[in-house]
Symmetry: C2
Subunit: 314 residues, 2 copies
């Protein structure tokens, strides 16, 4: 249930206030898409009817107005994530899914690569338990309970290049007061069984740790799940970089790049990239300020020389 | 030269009229991006501040408003191309490049496939001739004179699957009055030499006609080139379907699917799909009505059972 629908006679944005009690429809689906404000729309109209923004690729005054705006927007995105322009670049995309797909396509996957992504067991949230009957059935009970909060198809390209995929569960161990312990040792990762993994459609042969040379690995997780609202600890970035052998014992994953899907999380808690220096962050603007839709970004750490390819992107 | 810049004191849309002679900047770059109208922007503001459009994937009144609008927009796109909803579907994308890339990714390429695309020799337009010196040089004289009007990178995926690529020139033979002859026999295609093709960066081994079984082939051309303004005859759709053996003698291409890049052409002359039943048409809306940018479509013919895959799209 993401919207509360009352008898509808007129529609208005935001929360009702006592003076203006005409509101009959209350919009709550901010996880799906948040609402823009009226002021925002008026300012857009004003800007667009007093200025001319040309195609940024042409050579003229109207084009350089556009280029200036785009440059300043990139800067604002980096500031929002507390990311130094020395270390990070902002690449605009058509949304978070497109940003994730871009990583999937541009990452230098090899047969030795391992792609690790988090799953979330929604049994606890939904009160649904896996029954013996559902286990063997061909319907999708399983995939309804277990979600990844990553558009996994975006990474099919990795698998077509022979990379292995590994789904993991993340558990954050609380201290005696019920608060997270706030150190890396409180994070526990467990690998899903092969059987489970095969149900995610993307399983390939999983090589063992010793069959691997050095390779480009990628660990991907959402900062917040749009389905359950569960927030993942950003310490995962550090853990998977410095201590992944302990975290994922016996797996082919040994240190690598990290990707935060912040599509949902960035609306309320943008990852602080000075504290948690992830290599890739995928975001979507309609989740933050409602309008325009169809616009997002990939924030990329440029410090380390990752040989990104663009063989399959336009 | 795509803009004419006069001393700038104020900016206004459209052409100046005699009563309102404040206009100092005349915008001519309609090939790059056309201008939206003030009325259009006001109507958008009005719509967006009186209606609430939710995420189309959710379940609520605000979501079904969005779904209804999207459905009606799809219908309008098909009508614009005189395409029957029985035969065609409209898939929204982030632009023409994304639409072309989607075809590149979803087309069932095999090692036997052949991708034929048109090149245009801009020597005639620019008055630049290939000199013996430029021929052997490492600079890009060649690629400056010869353009394809297709974002060719979108088709790298085809080549990674082993498909062959073949660039062709199209010539339309005129009758004695200097008008096109308006029959298929007036269209002449010629294959570019291997040397030329290798310069386009996408050459792979070109198999010969007899080394091929039946395979999925694709022929792609722009309805209008954004660089030279040259218009290609839409009879190419028919020619390449029915008579490609004559048209491309000795090449591995024998009948196949056709793709029109109508990014530029659709603004003034949308291809009539009832007359020229192309299989794919890529378009971009800012070329037609200026706003919003970042939105386009792929119009796909659904009649023939083409086994499109979505293994690499999101
Ligand atoms: C966690 C998460 N990932 C990805 C997406 C998809 O984002 P976009 O619509 O920008 O592709 C969403 C939006 O629902 C999301 O919440
Ligand atoms: C012939 C042609 N193809 C492709 C494009 C790219 O379109 P889009 O910006 O929608 O990707 C353009 C736009 O300049 C064009 O004129």
């Amino acid at each position: 249930m993401d919207t509360l629908i009352l008898p509808k006679t007129s529609i208005k944005f935001g929360l009702p206030n006592s003076r203006d009690w005409k509101v009959k429809l209350v919009y709550l689906d901010h996880a799906g898409a948040t609402l823009y404000s009226e002021t925002q729309m008026e300012m857009i109209l004003k800007d667009f009817t007093t200025n001319v923004y040309g195609n940024p690729h042409s050579q003229s005054d109207t084009s350089s107005s556009t280029s200036d705006l785009v440059r300043s927007a990139r800067q604002q995105v980096l500031e929002y994530f507390n990311a130094s322009p020395k270390d990070y670049k902002c690449i605009f995309t058509s949304g978070a899914t497109a940003a994730l797909k871009l990583v999937g396509e541009a990452f230098p996957w090899t047969k030795e690569s391992c792609f690790v992504y988090t799953m979330e067991n929604h049994n606890s949230v939904l009160g649904i338990r896996e029954t013996p009957e559902s286990r063997g059935s061909s319907t999708n009970h399983h995939t309804e309970n277990v979600k990844s909060c990553l558009p996994i198809k975006s990474f099919r390209y990795a698998l077509s290049k022979g990379a292995a995929a590994l789904a993991v569960d993340v558990e954050e161990i609380e201290n005696q007061n019920g608060h997270p312990r706030n150190d890396l040792s409180s994070l526990k990762l467990s690998q899903r069984s092969a059987q489970r993994r095969s149900r995610t459609e993307i399983l390939e042969d999983i090589p063992t740790a010793n069959s691997l040379g050095s390779a480009y690995n990628l660990f991907a997780f959402p900062s917040e799940c749009n389905f359950s609202g569960m927030k993942f600890s950003l310490d995962l970035v550090k853990l998977m970089k410095e201590n992944s052998e302990r975290a994922l014992e016996g797996s082919p994953y040994s240190s690598g790049w990290s990707l935060i899907n912040a599509a949902k999380g960035c609306a309320t808690q943008p990852p602080d990239l000075a504290r948690f220096p992830a290599d890739f962050v995928a975001i979507s603007f309609y989740k933050i300020f409602g309008y325009p839709t169809g616009l997002g970004a990939l924030v990329v750490r440029t410090g380390k020389q990752l040989p990104l390819t663009c063989s399959n992107s336009s």
